[in-house]
Protein backbone atom coordinates (compact mmCIF):
# COMPACT_ATOMS: atom_id res chain seq x y z
CA UNK A 1 0.00 0.00 0.00
CA UNK A 2 3.03 2.27 -0.20
CA UNK A 3 2.36 5.37 -2.24
CA UNK A 4 -1.42 5.20 -1.90
CA UNK A 5 -2.94 8.66 -2.03
CA UNK A 6 -6.18 10.18 -0.93
CA UNK A 7 -7.88 11.73 -3.98
CA UNK A 8 -8.73 15.43 -3.92
CA UNK A 9 -11.83 16.26 -5.94
CA UNK A 10 -12.89 19.66 -7.16
CA UNK A 11 -16.44 20.89 -7.22
CA UNK A 12 -17.02 24.52 -8.11
CA UNK A 13 -14.82 26.73 -6.02
CA UNK A 14 -14.40 24.03 -3.41
CA UNK A 15 -12.31 20.95 -2.90
CA UNK A 16 -13.54 17.67 -1.54
CA UNK A 17 -11.32 15.21 0.23
CA UNK A 18 -13.00 11.96 1.05
CA UNK A 19 -11.03 9.63 3.24
CA UNK A 20 -12.49 6.21 2.50
CA UNK A 21 -9.80 4.06 4.05
CA UNK A 22 -8.09 3.95 7.41
CA UNK A 23 -5.14 6.16 6.68
CA UNK A 24 -1.64 5.59 7.96
CA UNK A 25 0.84 8.26 8.98
CA UNK A 26 2.51 8.33 5.57
CA UNK A 27 -0.77 8.91 3.74
CA UNK A 28 -1.79 11.62 6.20
CA UNK A 29 1.40 13.58 5.63
CA UNK A 30 1.10 13.06 1.88
CA UNK A 31 -2.47 14.37 2.00
CA UNK A 32 -1.30 17.45 3.87
CA UNK A 33 1.18 18.23 1.09
CA UNK A 34 -1.21 17.43 -1.75
CA UNK A 35 -4.08 19.41 -0.33
CA UNK A 36 -2.17 22.60 0.37
CA UNK A 37 -0.74 22.46 -3.15
CA UNK A 38 -4.20 21.81 -4.62
CA UNK A 39 -5.78 24.72 -2.74
CA UNK A 40 -3.25 27.18 -4.09
CA UNK A 41 -3.42 25.73 -7.58
CA UNK A 42 -7.21 25.75 -7.75
CA UNK A 43 -7.65 28.94 -5.77
CA UNK A 44 -10.24 27.12 -3.72
CA UNK A 45 -12.30 29.00 -1.19
CA UNK A 46 -13.65 25.99 0.59
CA UNK A 47 -12.39 22.58 1.55
CA UNK A 48 -14.52 19.75 2.79
CA UNK A 49 -12.85 16.79 4.44
CA UNK A 50 -15.14 13.78 4.70
CA UNK A 51 -13.98 11.36 7.36
CA UNK A 52 -17.19 9.34 7.65
CA UNK A 53 -15.39 6.11 6.77
CA UNK A 54 -12.67 6.72 9.32
CA UNK A 55 -13.31 4.41 12.24
CA UNK A 56 -10.04 4.68 14.12
CA UNK A 57 -7.82 7.65 14.83
CA UNK A 58 -4.69 7.90 16.89
CA UNK A 59 -3.13 11.06 18.25
CA UNK A 60 -0.93 11.49 15.19
CA UNK A 61 -3.74 11.25 12.63
CA UNK A 62 -5.86 13.48 14.83
CA UNK A 63 -3.13 16.09 14.94
CA UNK A 64 -2.51 15.88 11.18
CA UNK A 65 -6.22 16.36 10.50
CA UNK A 66 -6.12 19.44 12.69
CA UNK A 67 -3.01 20.69 10.91
CA UNK A 68 -4.54 20.09 7.48
CA UNK A 69 -7.60 22.07 8.46
CA UNK A 70 -5.55 24.89 9.96
CA UNK A 71 -3.29 25.04 6.90
CA UNK A 72 -6.29 25.25 4.57
CA UNK A 73 -7.64 28.12 6.59
CA UNK A 74 -4.40 30.05 6.32
CA UNK A 75 -4.58 29.52 2.56
CA UNK A 76 -7.95 31.30 2.69
CA UNK A 77 -10.08 28.23 2.26
CA UNK A 78 -12.91 27.68 4.69
CA UNK A 79 -12.48 24.18 6.01
CA UNK A 80 -15.27 21.87 7.08
CA UNK A 81 -14.67 18.45 8.56
CA UNK A 82 -17.75 16.30 8.02
CA UNK A 83 -19.08 12.93 9.03
CA UNK A 84 -17.05 12.25 12.13
CA UNK A 85 -18.02 9.00 13.85
CA UNK A 86 -19.05 9.21 17.52
CA UNK A 87 -16.18 6.94 18.55
CA UNK A 88 -13.71 9.15 16.72
CA UNK A 89 -15.15 12.28 18.33
CA UNK A 90 -14.82 10.76 21.79
CA UNK A 91 -11.26 9.66 21.09
CA UNK A 92 -10.22 13.09 19.85
CA UNK A 93 -11.75 14.78 22.89
CA UNK A 94 -10.02 12.34 25.22
CA UNK A 95 -6.76 13.06 23.40
CA UNK A 96 -7.36 16.76 24.02
CA UNK A 97 -7.66 17.65 20.34
CA UNK A 98 -10.55 20.03 19.82
CA UNK A 99 -9.96 21.18 16.21
CA UNK A 100 -10.10 24.82 17.19
CA UNK A 101 -11.14 27.11 14.37
CA UNK A 102 -12.28 24.27 12.21
CA UNK A 103 -15.90 23.97 11.21
CA UNK A 104 -17.64 20.66 11.51
CA UNK A 105 -20.82 19.23 10.04
CA UNK A 106 -22.70 16.00 10.41
CA UNK A 107 -22.60 14.92 6.78
CA UNK A 108 -21.51 16.03 3.32
CA UNK A 109 -24.83 17.71 2.60
CA UNK A 110 -24.69 19.83 5.74
CA UNK A 111 -21.05 20.61 5.02
CA UNK A 112 -21.97 21.81 1.57
CA UNK A 113 -24.68 24.07 3.02
CA UNK A 114 -22.12 25.49 5.38
CA UNK A 115 -19.63 26.21 2.58
CA UNK A 116 -22.34 27.82 0.45
CA UNK A 117 -23.39 30.00 3.36
CA UNK A 118 -19.86 31.26 3.90
CA UNK A 119 -19.26 31.76 0.19
CA UNK A 120 -18.60 35.36 -0.62
CA UNK A 121 -18.56 36.29 3.03
CA UNK A 122 -14.89 37.09 3.22
CA UNK A 123 -14.05 37.40 -0.45
CA UNK A 124 -14.65 40.46 -2.54
CA UNK A 125 -15.83 39.28 -5.90
CA UNK A 126 -15.15 41.55 -8.77
CA UNK A 127 -17.83 41.11 -11.34
CA UNK A 128 -16.96 41.33 -14.96
CA UNK A 129 -18.52 44.32 -16.53
Amino acid sequence: MIGQRIPILRFGAHLLVSIQVDIDDQMAVQLQDDLSAAIVKAGAHGVMIDISALGVVDSFIGRVLGTIAATSRILDAETVVVGMQPSVAITLVELGLSFKGVRTALNVERGMDLLRATEGEGTTDVDDA
Binding site: V81, V82, M84, P86, V88, A89, I90, L92, V93, E94, S98, F99, R103, T104, A105, L106, N107, R110, G111
Partner: protein, 293 residues
Protein backbone atom coordinates in the same frame (compact mmCIF):
# COMPACT_ATOMS: atom_id res chain seq x y z
CA UNK B 1 -28.38 -49.34 68.12
CA UNK B 2 -25.00 -48.15 69.25
CA UNK B 3 -22.19 -46.75 67.25
CA UNK B 4 -18.68 -47.59 68.20
CA UNK B 5 -16.72 -44.69 66.77
CA UNK B 6 -18.69 -44.79 63.51
CA UNK B 7 -20.72 -41.81 62.52
CA UNK B 8 -24.39 -42.04 63.42
CA UNK B 9 -25.43 -39.24 61.11
CA UNK B 10 -26.15 -41.28 57.95
CA UNK B 11 -28.25 -43.65 59.98
CA UNK B 12 -30.32 -40.87 61.56
CA UNK B 13 -30.85 -39.16 58.24
CA UNK B 14 -31.97 -42.34 56.57
CA UNK B 15 -34.00 -43.86 59.33
CA UNK B 16 -35.82 -40.88 60.78
CA UNK B 17 -36.28 -38.65 57.79
CA UNK B 18 -39.97 -37.81 58.21
CA UNK B 19 -39.69 -37.37 61.93
CA UNK B 20 -36.65 -35.16 61.56
CA UNK B 21 -38.27 -33.10 58.82
CA UNK B 22 -41.35 -32.40 60.93
CA UNK B 23 -39.32 -31.27 63.91
CA UNK B 24 -36.99 -29.20 61.77
CA UNK B 25 -39.90 -27.39 60.13
CA UNK B 26 -41.32 -26.64 63.56
CA UNK B 27 -38.00 -25.12 64.58
CA UNK B 28 -37.77 -23.10 61.40
CA UNK B 29 -41.12 -21.46 61.96
CA UNK B 30 -40.60 -20.88 65.68
CA UNK B 31 -37.19 -19.24 65.19
CA UNK B 32 -38.71 -16.95 62.59
CA UNK B 33 -36.44 -18.01 59.78
CA UNK B 34 -38.08 -17.83 56.40
CA UNK B 35 -41.46 -17.62 58.10
CA UNK B 36 -44.04 -15.43 56.47
CA UNK B 37 -42.22 -14.80 53.22
CA UNK B 38 -42.13 -18.36 52.02
CA UNK B 39 -45.19 -20.57 51.93
CA UNK B 40 -45.18 -23.56 54.26
CA UNK B 41 -45.53 -25.96 51.39
CA UNK B 42 -42.57 -24.51 49.56
CA UNK B 43 -40.53 -24.60 52.74
CA UNK B 44 -41.45 -28.23 53.31
CA UNK B 45 -40.52 -29.07 49.75
CA UNK B 46 -37.14 -27.40 49.99
CA UNK B 47 -36.42 -28.82 53.41
CA UNK B 48 -37.24 -32.32 52.19
CA UNK B 49 -35.00 -31.90 49.15
CA UNK B 50 -32.25 -30.65 51.42
CA UNK B 51 -32.58 -33.61 53.82
CA UNK B 52 -32.61 -36.10 50.97
CA UNK B 53 -29.46 -34.58 49.52
CA UNK B 54 -27.94 -34.44 52.97
CA UNK B 55 -28.66 -38.13 53.60
CA UNK B 56 -27.27 -39.01 50.20
CA UNK B 57 -24.09 -37.07 50.77
CA UNK B 58 -23.69 -38.43 54.30
CA UNK B 59 -23.49 -41.94 52.88
CA UNK B 60 -20.13 -41.10 51.37
CA UNK B 61 -18.72 -40.37 54.79
CA UNK B 62 -17.28 -37.01 53.80
CA UNK B 63 -18.22 -34.51 56.48
CA UNK B 64 -15.54 -31.92 56.03
CA UNK B 65 -15.48 -30.79 52.41
CA UNK B 66 -18.86 -29.57 51.19
CA UNK B 67 -17.33 -28.65 47.84
CA UNK B 68 -16.96 -32.35 47.03
CA UNK B 69 -19.15 -33.69 44.19
CA UNK B 70 -21.40 -35.76 46.49
CA UNK B 71 -22.63 -32.53 48.12
CA UNK B 72 -23.79 -30.98 44.87
CA UNK B 73 -27.50 -31.63 45.51
CA UNK B 74 -27.27 -29.95 48.91
CA UNK B 75 -25.37 -27.02 47.42
CA UNK B 76 -28.01 -26.58 44.73
CA UNK B 77 -30.84 -26.52 47.27
CA UNK B 78 -28.94 -23.99 49.38
CA UNK B 79 -28.26 -21.83 46.35
CA UNK B 80 -31.93 -21.88 45.47
CA UNK B 81 -33.04 -21.03 49.01
CA UNK B 82 -30.46 -18.26 49.42
CA UNK B 83 -31.13 -16.62 46.06
CA UNK B 84 -34.85 -16.62 46.68
CA UNK B 85 -34.32 -15.27 50.18
CA UNK B 86 -32.13 -12.48 48.84
CA UNK B 87 -34.65 -11.58 46.16
CA UNK B 88 -37.52 -11.53 48.63
CA UNK B 89 -35.63 -9.24 50.95
CA UNK B 90 -34.84 -11.69 53.74
CA UNK B 91 -31.84 -10.87 55.90
CA UNK B 92 -28.75 -13.11 55.76
CA UNK B 93 -29.52 -14.23 59.33
CA UNK B 94 -33.00 -15.34 58.35
CA UNK B 95 -31.64 -17.29 55.43
CA UNK B 96 -28.93 -18.91 57.51
CA UNK B 97 -31.54 -19.95 60.09
CA UNK B 98 -32.81 -22.38 57.47
CA UNK B 99 -29.68 -24.44 58.04
CA UNK B 100 -28.88 -23.63 61.66
CA UNK B 101 -32.31 -24.61 62.90
CA UNK B 102 -31.48 -28.16 61.86
CA UNK B 103 -28.91 -28.36 64.64
CA UNK B 104 -31.25 -28.88 67.55
CA UNK B 105 -33.30 -31.78 66.16
CA UNK B 106 -30.13 -33.36 64.85
CA UNK B 107 -28.24 -33.01 68.11
CA UNK B 108 -31.13 -34.48 70.10
CA UNK B 109 -31.09 -37.56 67.90
CA UNK B 110 -27.36 -37.96 68.05
CA UNK B 111 -27.53 -37.78 71.83
CA UNK B 112 -30.09 -40.58 71.83
CA UNK B 113 -27.92 -42.78 69.65
CA UNK B 114 -24.73 -42.45 71.59
CA UNK B 115 -24.08 -43.52 75.13
CA UNK B 116 -20.70 -42.26 76.07
CA UNK B 117 -19.72 -38.69 76.58
CA UNK B 118 -16.50 -38.75 74.55
CA UNK B 119 -18.24 -40.30 71.58
CA UNK B 120 -21.10 -37.81 71.86
CA UNK B 121 -18.70 -34.89 71.91
CA UNK B 122 -16.90 -36.20 68.84
CA UNK B 123 -20.14 -36.81 66.95
CA UNK B 124 -21.51 -33.38 67.81
CA UNK B 125 -18.28 -31.72 66.81
CA UNK B 126 -18.46 -33.43 63.42
CA UNK B 127 -22.01 -32.40 62.78
CA UNK B 128 -21.61 -28.91 64.09
CA UNK B 129 -18.65 -28.09 61.83
CA UNK B 130 -20.57 -29.48 58.90
CA UNK B 131 -23.74 -27.54 59.61
CA UNK B 132 -21.71 -24.40 60.25
CA UNK B 133 -20.11 -24.74 56.87
CA UNK B 134 -23.50 -25.14 55.23
CA UNK B 135 -24.81 -22.14 57.15
CA UNK B 136 -21.91 -19.98 56.10
CA UNK B 137 -22.47 -21.09 52.56
CA UNK B 138 -26.03 -19.80 52.65
CA UNK B 139 -24.79 -16.42 53.85
CA UNK B 140 -22.28 -16.31 51.06
CA UNK B 141 -24.87 -17.24 48.46
CA UNK B 142 -27.31 -14.77 49.96
CA UNK B 143 -24.71 -12.04 49.55
CA UNK B 144 -24.13 -13.08 45.97
CA UNK B 145 -27.85 -13.00 45.27
CA UNK B 146 -28.02 -9.45 46.65
CA UNK B 147 -25.08 -8.40 44.53
CA UNK B 148 -26.79 -9.75 41.44
CA UNK B 149 -29.85 -7.68 42.27
CA UNK B 150 -27.73 -4.56 42.77
CA UNK B 151 -25.83 -5.11 39.54
CA UNK B 152 -29.02 -5.55 37.59
CA UNK B 153 -30.49 -2.40 39.10
CA UNK B 154 -27.34 -0.46 38.29
CA UNK B 155 -27.58 -1.55 34.68
CA UNK B 156 -31.24 -0.60 34.60
CA UNK B 157 -30.55 2.84 36.02
CA UNK B 158 -27.80 3.38 33.50
CA UNK B 159 -30.11 2.58 30.63
CA UNK B 160 -33.12 4.37 32.02
CA UNK B 161 -31.39 7.54 32.90
CA UNK B 162 -29.96 8.54 29.55
CA UNK B 163 -32.81 9.13 27.16
CA UNK B 164 -32.17 11.46 24.26
CA UNK B 165 -35.36 13.24 23.27
CA UNK B 166 -36.04 14.66 19.87
CA UNK B 167 -37.62 18.09 20.29
CA UNK B 168 -37.85 19.10 16.67
CA UNK B 169 -36.24 18.30 13.37
CA UNK B 170 -32.54 18.65 14.01
CA UNK B 171 -32.95 19.48 17.69
CA UNK B 172 -32.39 16.89 20.40
CA UNK B 173 -32.43 17.26 24.16
CA UNK B 174 -30.66 15.24 26.80
CA UNK B 175 -32.25 15.71 30.22
CA UNK B 176 -29.72 14.54 32.78
CA UNK B 177 -31.01 13.32 36.11
CA UNK B 178 -28.94 12.24 39.08
CA UNK B 179 -25.27 12.36 39.92
CA UNK B 180 -22.79 12.13 37.09
CA UNK B 181 -19.76 9.92 37.50
CA UNK B 182 -17.17 8.97 34.93
CA UNK B 183 -18.83 5.72 33.94
CA UNK B 184 -22.23 7.30 33.48
CA UNK B 185 -20.85 10.27 31.62
CA UNK B 186 -19.25 7.89 29.17
CA UNK B 187 -22.62 6.26 28.48
CA UNK B 188 -24.31 9.67 28.28
CA UNK B 189 -21.74 10.92 25.82
CA UNK B 190 -22.01 7.86 23.62
CA UNK B 191 -25.81 7.96 23.56
CA UNK B 192 -25.80 11.66 22.80
CA UNK B 193 -23.41 11.28 19.87
CA UNK B 194 -25.26 8.29 18.49
CA UNK B 195 -28.56 10.14 18.67
CA UNK B 196 -27.06 13.20 17.01
CA UNK B 197 -26.23 10.96 14.06
CA UNK B 198 -29.58 9.14 14.14
CA UNK B 199 -31.59 12.38 14.23
CA UNK B 200 -29.21 14.41 12.04
CA UNK B 201 -29.24 16.92 14.83
CA UNK B 202 -27.79 20.39 14.42
CA UNK B 203 -28.34 21.35 18.01
CA UNK B 204 -28.23 19.32 21.21
CA UNK B 205 -29.57 20.70 24.46
CA UNK B 206 -28.07 19.23 27.60
CA UNK B 207 -30.41 19.94 30.50
CA UNK B 208 -28.81 19.57 33.92
CA UNK B 209 -31.81 20.58 36.04
CA UNK B 210 -31.78 17.11 37.62
CA UNK B 211 -28.09 17.02 38.40
CA UNK B 212 -27.76 17.70 42.13
CA UNK B 213 -24.17 18.91 42.20
CA UNK B 214 -21.69 20.06 39.64
CA UNK B 215 -18.07 19.83 40.67
CA UNK B 216 -14.98 20.30 38.53
CA UNK B 217 -15.08 16.68 37.41
CA UNK B 218 -18.70 16.83 36.27
CA UNK B 219 -18.06 20.14 34.52
CA UNK B 220 -15.10 18.58 32.75
CA UNK B 221 -17.26 15.68 31.61
CA UNK B 222 -19.89 18.08 30.32
CA UNK B 223 -17.31 20.08 28.41
CA UNK B 224 -16.00 16.88 26.85
CA UNK B 225 -19.47 15.95 25.66
CA UNK B 226 -19.90 19.43 24.22
CA UNK B 227 -16.54 19.26 22.45
CA UNK B 228 -17.29 15.81 21.02
CA UNK B 229 -20.70 16.94 19.76
CA UNK B 230 -19.08 19.97 18.16
CA UNK B 231 -16.59 17.77 16.33
CA UNK B 232 -19.53 15.98 14.80
CA UNK B 233 -21.04 19.22 13.65
CA UNK B 234 -23.67 19.73 16.33
CA UNK B 235 -23.84 22.70 18.62
CA UNK B 236 -24.55 22.16 22.31
CA UNK B 237 -26.55 24.33 24.64
CA UNK B 238 -26.43 23.67 28.37
CA UNK B 239 -29.61 24.54 30.21
CA UNK B 240 -31.03 24.18 33.68
CA UNK B 241 -28.11 25.59 35.61
CA UNK B 242 -29.50 26.48 39.00
CA UNK B 243 -28.32 29.63 40.81
CA UNK B 244 -26.38 27.72 43.46
CA UNK B 245 -24.69 25.60 40.84
CA UNK B 246 -23.76 28.67 38.81
CA UNK B 247 -22.18 30.16 41.93
CA UNK B 248 -20.33 26.94 42.73
CA UNK B 249 -19.00 26.73 39.20
CA UNK B 250 -17.68 30.27 39.34
CA UNK B 251 -16.10 29.57 42.75
CA UNK B 252 -14.44 26.46 41.37
CA UNK B 253 -13.15 28.41 38.42
CA UNK B 254 -15.01 26.25 35.94
CA UNK B 255 -15.36 28.13 32.70
CA UNK B 256 -17.97 27.16 30.20
CA UNK B 257 -16.48 29.41 27.58
CA UNK B 258 -17.78 29.09 24.08
CA UNK B 259 -20.72 27.11 25.37
CA UNK B 260 -24.16 28.69 25.27
CA UNK B 261 -25.85 28.37 28.65
CA UNK B 262 -29.48 29.06 29.42
CA UNK B 263 -31.54 29.02 32.56
CA UNK B 264 -34.34 26.78 31.42
CA UNK B 265 -34.94 24.20 28.77
CA UNK B 266 -37.54 26.52 27.21
CA UNK B 267 -34.97 29.28 26.75
CA UNK B 268 -32.53 26.82 25.24
CA UNK B 269 -35.21 25.55 22.88
CA UNK B 270 -35.97 29.11 21.80
CA UNK B 271 -32.30 29.62 20.96
CA UNK B 272 -32.24 26.33 19.09
CA UNK B 273 -35.26 27.35 17.01
CA UNK B 274 -33.66 30.67 16.21
CA UNK B 275 -30.42 29.01 15.14
CA UNK B 276 -32.30 26.73 12.79
CA UNK B 277 -34.19 29.71 11.33
CA UNK B 278 -37.55 28.86 12.83
CA UNK B 279 -39.97 30.75 14.98
CA UNK B 280 -43.04 29.99 16.98
CA UNK B 281 -46.11 31.67 15.56
CA UNK B 282 -49.31 32.35 17.42
CA UNK B 283 -52.34 30.66 15.93
CA UNK B 284 -54.07 34.07 15.75
CA UNK B 285 -51.46 35.13 13.24
CA UNK B 286 -49.74 37.21 15.80
CA UNK B 287 -46.08 36.46 15.52
CA UNK B 288 -44.50 35.57 18.78
CA UNK B 289 -40.78 35.86 18.64
CA UNK B 290 -39.29 32.45 19.18
CA UNK B 291 -36.30 33.97 20.78
CA UNK B 292 -37.22 36.29 23.58
CA UNK B 293 -33.74 37.63 23.92
Amino acid sequence: MKSEGGNVLPEILRGEENDLLAEWLKHQTSTGGMGGRVSEEELREKSRAFLRGFAEAAQHGNFTDIDAPEWSVVRDVLADVSRNGARQGLSPAQTATFVFSLKQPLFARIARKTNNAADLAAQLWNVTTLVDQLGLRTTELHQKGREEVINRQQRDILELSTPVVKLWDGIVALPLIGALDSERTQVVMETLLEQIVANSALIAIIDITGVPTVDTLVAQHLLKAVAAARLMGAECIISGIRPQIAQTMVHLGVELHEVVTKGTLADAFAVALKRTSRKVVNANDRVVEAARA
